[in-house]
Symmetry: C4
Subunit: 326 residues, 4 copies
């Protein structure tokens, strides 16, 4: 294993935003979806949660289901109010109906008011019913103003649409080796001025306490002008790398985490987009290299990028560093 | 007290945007919510106030109340118009009603027109009433277009959601001491490329006039990559600090103000967010240090950040600087 | 007058985006509202004009008038269609009416359809009328979707809300003099990281042709952290200034134009905002200095900024540069 | 032809985002509209395509047609449902009608429900029909919320509105020559802080394989403060240029591609905008220079920019480099 002395000549960094004591034995700092592996407490949930952004990030089907349930709930509430005032104030409702039927008449009148369809074959009479209907139509308009904003917000939310290779490889590189991972945009979006940032987190034993140390992983190219095809991020494992003295056995032993952050300008949104992910030690493949994921189209006039091959790699022999004497 | 000579070797800065004469005896420059403690005059209020942003920053319940009052007011206005034209032009209104009842019929017809529910059991006849109803429905649509925009604007307005510690501490730091304050995001948002900026404002007597001087307070780390947990801003009080020669007594005596500005990129909004606050001298605690506000979850697989402990600190003894001879 | 040699030691700049031949004798390059004094030709107007932005920048009353006229026009068109199909297909219209009355019935039915009020006391029958009404209600919804977007766009359009002093002064400054102009935000908005940029354009005779030369005017402070109160932009007229050798007579003689650009981050919009203006030679006051435009509130706890005093200045004597021998 | 040695002293660059093997014989890398000449495969189309942005970038008439078809389709679907439940549940539909007429009654009722016009001369009765109508009006509101967002998104999408000259010229420049192309904004928009970036892609034979090499083309001015009139991008073909040793014959022979990227801040949108294009070898004109495309207005008080003259150039004689001995 690497001697502490050798690795510690490398300066760890303190400006990651994670404290040195934030380490969680067996846990990870960043989840694969880029969120921090963290829970907040101490203030009420409605202050801790951004409702708007939760609704924006919710899956489409959950969002639609939520709207449907909300719509039903509001109608049930107003139907109950109309029902308790008396359906006889709803002009056009047949008084001969059963209570259930009358409730449903109130329910459908409510939905016609909430959506502002207002056919009018059922219509409100009397102060109370009219006032409630007047408020309900206002509620309807405000609700759907909100829904309009949410739907627009969901679609227009800037996202990088990046696909990361599920594995990070230790591959042959020049005379030595390098840590490599691959990234590509999977939508018809176009990124320019793309910047990548890799940070290694190692949970180290120091004076009997577990300390989390952070090391920047320098990239061969940390910035590309545009990202039309795939991009292989290459961290050369040279003498300046914190991974220099690790051997195959160390990689399995150490509970490393590699935090990846990509920031770029997106043409679609004309906005900065950002996506993060993190790799833990068990996603690392020692001695492998990526295979090309694009090829020339048969017609010869364009390139084809095969996104399902983003993780395609083959195992190769690596030259191990010689054991160092402590 | 610190000798002016010693402090004045430090260069004050002029590019804060506050003039040297903007000092207000006993007042502050920046309010705790980050707005400038300033009133503007000389042009009409509707030119001085951004109505849109006032509506955006208004509390939710005030905003809803405002909409409700607006809705009632518009309906009262149009009801009065229909009433003065004559409710006999509203088809379906019973002429046998009392004037109050007839006014209310006009009121509810107005609300049905404004919200475009338009049940039709009451309907306009005659040129005048039809024309007014036609205009009211246009007003309704424009109003609710505006409300849709406002509601979207309220939700989508980029904010940093930062919680600052109510106190700023003078804490032990390395061999000396440091000024410290703590900040954390209190929502499920994620900030990256976070930059902090601290400025000290001191109202000094100079030639019998009160002058406001500004000094930058250099931070140990002025930038962090991300802000998943809390961040303690540390200004080391070393020889280069404008606070270097202050002792405990001076702090109480001087009417200092510390202006804090945090700027970051927010993942939720994909936008730059910014939040400011300011601490006055009576928020400063001399001789105290912050206690940790996060801990490992019992399950061991994530970290818990306790937001109600952001100001938790304990008193400690500080080594006082030796009295200087003037 | 300044000898060309002396001024030409200063390097003019070519990267203003204005070509050297863009000079217009007696005209200006930038209008006071910041737009370029330029017309485009050669492609159809609908390709040259951004309709959206024209509607966004239009005055509020013109915008409302435009919507009202559009609303009337669309209703007239659809009323004509219903009328030509035959109002007998509009259930509820009294056939005994005069043609004008019947047209107005069609007009009001149209407005009820366009706004989707749809009272229903007049309702479409027959294939044709139904189909037209069906299309009109779609048109109505699309139109008001557009209007919603426009209203939101108008309110949320980032603007700097900067008030510039109508005059630019040559004031005493240190041992010499300086060119000064004053700027302040006139709304309750807050700008940070404010950058100012001044460019001098001079239309010079060279080889019998009028050439426009551009010189940067260096500012004492080109950037301030925030802009809570007014900011006086100061260009010291020292040896490095292109204005160094000008005397009072030259200023009147030369057709100078000073282009001012302010760029800042605005807290309200969380966006970069920018505002430009330009001063021509006849807005320049030689020998004057600005008077303060803010003062302490009587209550003593805040500052008052008097926006109507932005241009308040008093005449002062300037030390003229000694005549230079060519 | 240029000797490889001479050209290869120039360093090609690897950070374009295009791989060295991405070359496609006879194809181009970037299409004239700025999109990459690339297809993506391997994941389902709905994951590969951003529906929102496709709808945003679609031509206006296609967008309107799409909405019309969608509206008709939804109405057909709901009409079929009402028809199969039985039109006798639609109050006001004459049962004596033919099946086609009854279907059309259901169709128009559907459109009145979807748009929330709801005249009410046809109205739903019975649980089933009421429930379907209730859902349809919800669908209508959600759909038009979506359409509102799309229309706003289409209008407010930041775009550079740049017009590029269809040809790129090799023109005389100082003592030598330069590669030139011209760009102008064609709308009433205003760009500031405009940055241009030119990259030369050459498909070279190396060891029997076609390799794509990228060379930056240095510009005389890569940045201008603003872009009020046209801007001629000038790449001087000096000793540092990768094009230095090319002669007229080489240009025809080599399959070059010049990728142009313009990035700027736009005043209208208060946002960064970006536009790309690419020129292939057959768009290059050897020995020509652009003619002015702006002139003084007859009134003398403004400038006229003639956009249809953006490509206007005249042929000129170029001094050929002397043949080099390999």
């Amino acid at each position: 294993m690497a001697t502490p002395n050798q690795r510690h000549r490398l300066r760890d960094i303190d400006n990651t935003g994670f404290g040195p004591n934030s380490s969680v034995e067996g846990g990870r700092l960043i989840n694969p979806d880029g969120t921090a592996n963290l829970k907040k407490k101490g203030i009420p949930i409605w202050e801790r949660i951004s409702v708007y952004h939760t609704l924006l990030r919710m899956k489409g089907k959950h969002f639609l289901l939520g709207i449907f349930l909300y719509y039903t709930a509001i109608n049930l509430i107003f139907a109950s109010i109309y029902f308790s005032i008396g359906v006889e104030h709803l002009l056009g409702v047949d008084g001969a109906h059963t209570p259930f039927e009358r409730f449903m008449d109130a329910f459908f009148f409510s939905s016609q008011t909430l959506t502002t369809v207002g056919y009018g074959h059922v219509a409100p009479t009397g102060m109370m019913t009219n006032a409630v209907a007047s408020i309900e139509s206002l509620v309807g308009i405000l609700t759907f103003a909100l829904v309009t904003g949410l739907i627009y917000g969901r679609f227009s939310r800037p996202r990088a649409y990046l696909l990361f290779s599920p594995n990070v490889l230790i591959s042959p590189f020049k005379e030595g080796k390098a840590l490599m991972l691959r990234v590509a945009t999977y939508k018809n979006n176009h990124l320019t001025d793309v910047e990548a940032n890799l940070t290694l987190a190692v949970h180290e034993q120091e004076n009997g306490k577990t300390q989390t140390k952070f090391y920047p992983l320098k990239l061969q190219f940390a910035k590309v002008n545009s990202l039309p095809i795939s991009w292989t991020l290459v961290h050369p494992i040279d003498e300046e790398s914190p991974l220099y003295n690790y051997r195959k056995e160390d990689v399995a032993e150490l509970k490393m985490e590699i935090i990846v952050n990509i920031k770029a300008f997106d043409d679609h949104f004309s906005n900065i987009v950002q996506q993060r992910t993190s790799y833990t030690y068990n996603q690392l493949v020692y001695g492998a290299k990526f295979l090309p994921m694009f090829e020339r189209a048969e017609s010869g006039d364009h390139t084809i990028l095969e996104l399902d091959r983003i993780n395609e790699h083959e195992m190769v022999q690596l030259q191990e560093p010689e054991p160092t004497s402590a």
